[in-house]
Assembly symmetry: C2
Homo-oligomer: 556 residues x 2
């Protein structure tokens, strides 16, 4: 396939671009293989530089001699293009439709994007599991690095190396893998140094209708607990759903075979219902001038905040078992790639101060979402407004970031990063110039040579001139567990995401920048008064077209 | 009456005090004429120092040999006292009930409170109208100070001096007063220098069923507009309610008699329904662990946020007429003492940067609420939880402060004061050690010698060691009109007030203090680097019992 075949009309003059809250501009529209550009007419400024992958839905309306295209973006932006000439309008629309739904990963922009400031291969977290083991090994010798999945044969959605109990050999692990859906055998996600408890995750066991057992799986989980110790299995499905899963070959850990483990069911929404909840909320947010009753009714009807509350509550439950009850915890639902990761990642953020730094959070995402095999390509293929919704889309990662935002709001000092990082991550999960969120798991990334042929988002973000945008100026290291309030009265709508393009939070953003400036001013004046000058002042962020419309180059 | 007659039991040992989110303490309970004190047993610390006026409802429950008293405070705090001895419990309860409902103004605590750092008579805004005229006179000579109400005979709820059109004599003003409910003839609240438009307020005209007219009232309003100019009457009742008011002797300005004025109806809730809305919301906020659906349902059912939205929208409408349409505006409902003031005060905050400073805001409150005759004593006699609700209670002032909070959230730079000021004002409106919010109007204050015999809240707040608590560290003068978004998606629950005692916002408060510290650090380091030292460093706020439990002495 050649991109040029998909582009029926590459340039249109005299196009009117309208966006809510911004004055309309007239200019020349260009469609390239990956971008939609609009440069304004009299001044020639670049007014829009949109990654076409960001387009979620294209709506066209033709009347008389011109047409209007409404682009609903995955980041919830809505753009309107008024295009002279009916045919040109239809051509532009179908070009955007075709380019936005290219389904070959290796045709995507990350394989073409070559920012001059970065080298390929820079910033890929290559030894996440090794570094994880290093930290755990400082506390205990109960865990070891297993490369039983070195060729992705034991579990196609796991990375090559994972942490397993030191007492269990690779052969037993491989057998346990065959007893878990998709081969996702129990692995360590977090070792809680305070009382030596472990957080594990897996997929459901394949007990099936005949109550099949697997001695190796039982032994793997048994060896984690000392005699008389108890562990908790947090199943992210209802008891009924878990029972029904047996009919399809899945199931749960029966008490008789896993006597030290006690099961708790906490049903978390996933899949289609979660996607619809997101779509309903996004639609409600975009409704112009509803009454307060209607808005609150739609907010409630979307059930999104209930999902936020449920996710945070379940993560708190896991954290409580580990920290307060002194019990190890295994989390799984069915596939173990969605709500499971939501719970384990949030629990770590609550428990572990190391995950709350900018670096630590990146590593958490890499370990618990990307390498843990959350199927980003499937889940983030479409966003809230696409009518051609597949069965696989679900905003689980958005739900996670929303929960992180709730934490950051309740603990304004404890996370080293701010809302801007969460927004940038979300944008990149749905449409990116970088390879980090491409594909569904490490095996696919390896086949597509993502690491060799695309740039890492982390490399981009961690450049000094980018990095400072994402920092929380109020951050100060908090060694404690941060227990969020999960009462509904404490859960708020994440306006910074859901209303981002509808009611721009310009003033709030400015306040953030001002606090940042104050902190920098304080730090630099402290340094000056100590007779030192910054030898390497932070360079200003690059201005002009490279940064485009919103100044967030990371999302291009 | 002697207070000692009301106190049936003055001291009880071994009382257990419980509050949500705070560990219970055991100690000795003392009831004084105005305060409830509890000092803890082993350490003798003062654990509670509550103004008894703050008690909204007393619930008692006796079982066996002891009893429990639940105190629901006007500031939404809930305290529980476990008291040994049934009789003592009932005595304590009836003492608190009696002391909290003393109805003679001059028996209230402000007439006894004598803080050593203040002089009586300090801080009373004595020449508010004169200063107001001074500012207006710099722009136009169309307005003059009238003392037609010097002896409160024209309008018992107006102050002695008000601003009226220069072209209208006092005799005509007195006649116009007789044509308005309660004598509240149209007066100037704000002159908009940008285009010379005026914001006025009054009560409804007494047209009655026979369409009575008053030439002087017509002339008073007519003289404000030049030939061909148009003004707007914003009636805070629905068109139907305004029409019905004619049956009771009230009404509206008929087009035929006020040809240059166009009427707009914006129905704002008031009175009993507003009080019930507040009570419903406070109850919903206090419900432990509701589901998200139930919480959002109750939030919607309370309709409180609808009232916030409606008040802000109507204020924006008034501001738009003045600023965008270049038209003068008269605001009134029926009595002109509630929703009228809500709209005129908010409109000024939106339009006038001078009202957004700490001083300017105090003057706005003094001019548009206190001296304008908002009946604080009637409206704030009881709060959300009293069962003995009168017909006169209504949280109009709370609604105003909630709207100000919404403004401060949407424009974090533009108000010189922060949430702490709004909370302190609210606390003092309902129960205070100061005389500022006593009585219903200036006439009553004059009769009760409030200025001579009580301290001014402003004097207390403006002491340097108090004042800095209320400042917004991010403030920077914004000369522009601040147009808030009034979309329901932008209106938030004021958690700082409604959840203050339920989910303490400790971390958010700390963040605020940290920003304040940063700003002070920056300012002092700037001064130091210029070779200057602060000659008068701000003294630390006084510690210990004088400041009591919450450190907010202003509310004692």
């Amino acid at each position: 396939m050649e991109f040029s075949e998909l582009i029926k009309t590459a340039t249109v003059e005299d196009v009117l671009l309208s966006r809510p809250g911004v004055a309309a501009v007239r200019g020349t529209l260009c469609i390239t293989s990956h971008h939609l550009l609009l440069s304004s007419c009299p001044r020639g400024d670049l007014e829009l530089w949109l990654l076409i992958r960001n387009v979620d839905a294209v709506e066209k309306r033709v009347s008389g001699s011109s047409g209007t295209i409404t682009l609903r973006c995955k980041d919830l932006r809505v753009l309107q293009l008024e295009i002279p000439g009916t045919e040109r309008c239809l051509n532009v629309a179908s070009s955007i439709e075709a380019l936005s739904s290219v389904d070959s990963v290796m045709m995507l922009y990350p394989f073409f994007h070559r920012p001059p400031s970065l080298r390929l291969q820079q910033g890929w977290h290559l030894a996440v599991a090794e570094r994880h083991l290093q930290r755990v090994a400082a506390q205990t010798s109960q865990w070891r690095l297993s490369t039983v999945n070195g060729d992705f044969s034991a579990c196609p959605s796991y990375p090559r190396a994972v942490l397993v109990p030191a007492a269990v050999g690779d052969e037993a692990v491989a057998r346990a893998a065959r007893f878990r859906q998709g081969g996702r055998f129990p692995v360590l996600c977090y070792f809680h140094p305070k009382n030596g408890t472990a957080l594990l995750r897996s997929s459901q066991p394949l007990t099936g209708p005949n109550r099949r057992r697997c001695r190796e799986d039982e032994r793997l989980l048994g060896t984690i607990l000392d005699e008389g110790e108890r562990g908790f299995v947090i199943d992210t499905r209802s008891a009924q759903a878990a029972k029904q899963a047996r009919m399809g070959g899945g199931g749960t850990e029966p008490k008789s075979c896993y006597p030290q483990w006690r099961r708790l069911h906490r049903a978390l929404e996933r899949g289609r219902p979660l996607q619809e909840s997101f779509a309903r909320l996004a639609e409600a947010c975009g409704e112009p001038a509803p009454s307060m009753e209607r808005w609150l009714g739609r907010l409630e009807g979307s059930r999104w905040l209930s999902h936020v509350k449920a996710a945070l509550s379940t993560a708190c439950l896991a954290a409580q078992c580990l920290d307060r009850e002194g019990c190890s915890v295994l989390v799984h639902g069915a596939e173990g790639t969605d709500t499971t990761l939501l719970v384990t990642a949030l629990a770590q953020l609550i428990l572990d101060p190391a995950c709350r730094t900018l670096e630590g959070f990146q590593e958490l995402l890499e370990r618990e979402w990307i390498q843990a095999g959350h199927p980003f390509q499937l889940r983030c293929a479409r966003s809230a407004s696409s009518h051609a919704r597949g069965k696989q889309e679900a905003p689980v990662f958005l739900l996670f970031l929303d929960c992180v935002w709730q934490l950051s709001r309740q603990f304004p000092f404890s996370l080293e990063f701010g809302e801007q990082l969460l927004l940038t991550l979300l944008d990149n999960a749905y449409a990116s110039a970088y390879g980090t969120f491409l594909c569904n798991n490490e095996k696919e990334r390896s086949l597509c040579k993502v690491r060799e042929s695309t740039h890492s988002l982390w490399a981009w973000l961690n450049q000094p001139e980018e990095r400072h945008k994402y920092l929380n100026p109020l951050y100060s290291h908090n060694p404690l567990v941060i227990w969020p309030s999960v009462e509904p009265q404490s859960i708020q709508l994440w306006q910074g995401f859901f209303l981002r393009w509808i009611r721009p939070s310009q003033h709030l953003d400015e306040a953030w920048v001002e606090i940042q400036r104050l902190v920098q001013g304080k730090n630099s004046s402290l340094q000056e008064s100590a007779g030192k000058r910054l030898s390497q002042p932070l360079p200003e962020p690059p201005a002009g077209t490279e940064n485009g419309e919103t100044g967030k180059a990371g999302t291009r």
